[in-house]
Symmetry: C2
Subunit: 235 residues, 2 copies
């Protein structure tokens, strides 16, 4: 597809990069991916991401994305590609290269609903929820155990409240926005995996049947199945 | 403009709703706005927003937006309008109704850059930065003063780091994205106001001259001047 720029996605196995990776695979666009892992010196507060195959140190990764986070999408060939960060932006950009798939809503309002979901997912579910629950040191002094416990508790409350809201929003719906698959559905799979991995087997599915149904449908898509194999994911 | 649905924006004076209000005024689209204030029982952790003129209690507002936050945009007439939340979604929706103004980028990549800015602004600057600094009880147990202090400190660090990043991104640029005014510029004015109100007079302008230049240009737009008058804002 010569009309499309070269795309390289930086991936951390099972992280929120899964949504971007799955949308890329679903579109059928050609792309490369680079798997990152936690380099030496990473801790519960901050990752020190580097290429798993040793081809990129953490310091070299910081030159690509000074924020130090994934996901990162490099757009274009050569030594100075455009670097795009933030999951909502990457999902919307990838989907905009594959307009025939209609992953960005059927009209202005549906498109805004997609941005609403992605924004809420990133700020509330991921940042206030999981990041606080798993990495409380991002939100307070990690040498203070009482602070860490308080932040972690509040993160867990936020996740549980968000999951109840998702369950309600998905009632009677086949997909999150309108009547069609969109980038939101790929994003929602991420949090499903994360929370079900924290809870006893079967509990999440029993508590949130609408959300479970959606997660199962997204996992059954060919592109998603391919990414599960590439990233060796199970749940 | 009969092609456009009726729009009602719920506004809290000086909050991030300013960006949505300013974009609305800039477009020239007809709209209504309802000013909210903190009802009785609000505290540093949670607002209990209600209409300033008494026409809407907090409980009635929660029926409109169960999240309890602003901004909220009601789209359409009648008893059951569409309710859109999350600032990035509202900004993108309003701008999509005024396509001739080109506030959403000149191509797919610029559009993705806009989403990247809005997403980073909401999650990092607003949520991890100002919300933690001003409302630490959202992130931990607010009966524990040490937790509150830790969270507030980390919020302040996040704001300062974000302002340095904004200053660098704006170097040599007239507007945040591409060569044109976009919804991002309106959003950036919000944090400029917030931080300069926390710091001694003139300090923010001296420390961040590129950001100061942008804020001044946005404030000089007719629609923004009008909203400053309506909301009685000074800085």
């Amino acid at each position: 597809m010569p009309d499309h720029p070269a795309l390289t996605l930086y991936v951390y196995r099972g992280s929120c990069t899964l949504a971007a990776h799955a949308v890329l695979a679903h579109t059928g666009l050609p792309y490369k991916y680079i798997i990152l892992d936690n380099g030496p010196g990473g801790n519960s507060t901050n990752s020190r991401l580097q290429a798993a195959d040793g081809s990129l140190s953490h310091e070299e990764f910081l030159k690509i994305n000074p924020k130090g986070f994934v996901p990162v999408l490099a757009i274009g060939e050569g030594p100075n590609p455009e670097i795009l960060t933030e999951l909502p932006a990457i999902l919307i950009y990838i989907a905009s290269l594959a307009q025939d798939l209609n992953l960005l809503g059927a009209n202005h309002l549906e498109h805004a609903r997609i941005v609403e979901w992605l924004s809420w997912a990133s700020c509330t579910i991921h940042t206030n929820g999981f990041a606080a629950f798993w990495r409380p040191g991002r939100y307070g002094d990690d040498s203070h155990p009482a602070t860490m416990k308080d932040i972690r508790n509040r993160g867990e409350e936020t996740i549980i409240k968000a999951f109840a809201a998702i369950e309600e929003k998905l009632e009677g719906k086949e997909w999150a926005v309108g009547d069609a698959l969109s980038v939101v559905d790929f994003n929602l799979l991420v949090y499903w995996r994360w929370w079900s991995s924290e809870r006893p087997d079967g509990e999440t599915e029993a508590q949130y049947p609408n959300y479970a149904r959606l997660a199962k449908k997204v996992k059954a898509l060919d592109g998603v199945k391919k990414v599960y194999e590439l990233e060796k994911l199970k749940r």
